[in-house]
Symmetry: C2
Subunit: 342 residues, 2 copies
DNA sequence: TTGTATGCGTTATCAT
DNA sequence: ATGATAACGCATACAA
């Protein structure tokens, strides 16, 4: 440890001619300190550049005033917005936010949870792919809020967008434009949201009398998406989709790139729509038609739910907040009414 | 604290019929433990779901195996890439990375430093706007690495792109395309990189015989950039710039938006180039010509320098790593050789 | 190979 | 209004 950090509450106390206890009281804003004493102590703190050791404090009190957020890909503007919302809500209540990046790896997910719990964050906001560590947390009665996918048998707060409604809206929009050969470029197979999308997609198409819907599963990273998109667009002309619903903005990017490689124009040759609005959607060529989810709000609400539970653990009841998404029509779907604006 | 977290090393020891000391040895991988004892202890750990308390460990050892990264705007892909690089490097050495978002506020910057130091992160990677807290850290001999701006009188490792060379290249490219009315849409006034850009910009233009260069200072958030860009493009026709160098990708976005509002085409009416490449640059309309900086590498090297210093504090000597940027010509500058590819 | 004693920096509790 | 003492959970030094 560094010299400067060797400054402890004892040093401050000595310099101010009081006991550590009194310094502690000043630090924690107790009123039971004489104004002049308080002043002397404050001076000592400033002169020594004293910063309380949060480890010692946390060890003793059992609270760190820190919460953790685990997301699949912090490089995705969607998750950045979620994080920003959570940070805001946390900061208002005097909590710090620690963000971990899962990157699609279940191993990493468990690792991160271990690290954060080891550091005794007071609670967790989790965009979890794997349910395993969650049941563990549940057994420990460790407070956490799920953002996005729900998990069977896991009793917890949940905050998420209505993915089902979103996909219905997206597919419906394409149908209303006359499309019949529509494909879903989905995320990794098997998780909750992925299943929701497939369910909504097939149901909507079936209701419109369109059989055997095309579903491709890519990964959310660039490579996986690009390969899946290329495969989709390389199908023989009769099978090739004339419209694609991408499960998130990065997958939409993949479609754009793949189409470019194959000399396919968007929206003339393939229409494109996707989940999640973001700054660049209105600037990308072509401007993307998206199903917008209130990412920032999701982050805020998730943090708020967690903080509420921390405040009153006994009174906690699992809450589920599901937000309807909003269709923003731009150009990539080929709609006549597509706006240039964001 | 939660029931599940009440599991301490003592509980594990009791269950395994040994002392806390022996458990500690297993946790830290000492070889001096009988295989069968080790096994018993491991079982106890698993059954109880024991996770060591990093607070207690850190308090005792004086090391947390955690480093902090403070950036101006984690929402910007550039900084996300830096963070990702730093996380990689850290993880390889068994360190966790905690990221803080400064958001252009010096108050927030000091606050974050206080919080992280309070939590006794072993060192800091800082993209600092304000020099004040740095001198404080220096006096305390607290290890930190600067990413981006340097600061006078601050002795520390520095990792950054060569902003001066970058702006020279960008302005030079526009000059070579025949432009004379070139403006710099700069970031916030006064910091190191901002001054570097102005210096390189004026010098390059002067060398080409172009007088009185136009420099506008925006903030890096969307609003500030948009206003500045609009002001620039709304100048009377004789003064209006025919080419703009944007100080980062978000400012370039502002220019695109502002131009659209004013019915100005890019690159026909205004050419546009900017710093920092990113996924969307090759998809944005028009594809952006950029000066690419090795963001990921910067993050990695910064972390590596910090870890090296932590490993051998006595042998530490301040190192400065400056990377030349690379010009990637696409369409927004109006160059004939502009590629469609990324 | 395993155990005992001690202290890291802070605050809760009880005392003055 | 302030102080003394103990305790949080763990690892270091030393002992057995």
């Amino acid at each position: 440890m560094n010299k400067g950090l060797r400054v402890t509450i004892q040093d401050v106390a000595a310099r101010a001619g009081v006991t550590a206890m009194t310094v502690s009281r000043v630090l924690n804003g107790s009123h039971r300190v004489a104004p002049e004493t308080r002043q002397r102590i404050q001076s000592a703190i400033d002169e020594l550049g004293y910063i309380p050791n949060a480890l010692a404090r946390g060890l003793l009190t059992g609270r760190t005033r820190t919460i953790g957020l685990l997301v699949d890909d912090i490089g995705n503007p969607y998750w950045t917005a979620v994080a920003s919302g959570a940070e805001d809500a946390g900061q208002r209540a005097g909590y710090s936010l620690v963000v971990g990046n899962i990157g699609g790896s279940e191993v990493r997910e468990e690792q991160l949870i271990r690290t954060l719990v080891g550091n005794r964050v007071d609670g967790l906001l989790i965009n979890a792919a794997s349910g395993r560590p969650l049941t563990q947390l549940m057994k420990s009665n460790y407070p956490f809020v799920l953002i996005g996918p729900e998990h069977k048998g896991v009793r917890s707060d949940v905050v998420r967008g209505d993915v089902y409604a979103g996909i219905v809206g997206l597919a419906g929009h394409l149908l209303s434009l006359g499309h019949r050969k529509i494909a879903l470029l989905n995320g990794p197979k098997g998780d909750f949201e992925s299943r929701e999308r497939v369910r909504g997609f097939t149901k909507t198409l079936a209701a419109a009398g369109v059989g055997s819907p095309l579903v491709a599963n890519g990964t959310f990273d660039y490579r996986g998406g690009y390969d899946a998109a290329t495969a989709l667009l390389s199908l023989p002309a009769r099978e090739r989709p004339r419209a694609i619903v991408a499960a998130n903005n990065f997958l939409a990017l993949s479609v754009i790139e793949a189409a470019r490689e194959l000399n396919l124009r968007i929206p003339e040759d393939v229409a494109l729509v996707c989940f999640d609005d973001f700054v660049f959607a209105a600037v990308i060529d072509p401007f993307l038609t998206v199903m917008s989810q209130p990412a920032r709000l999701l982050g805020q609400q998730a943090a708020d739910l967690l903080l509420k539970r921390l405040d009153d653990p006994a009174g906690w009841q699992p809450t589920k907040l599901i937000h309807p998404p909003e269709l923003i029509v731009r150009r990539s779907c080929g709609s006549k009414s597509g706006r240039r604006e964001r």
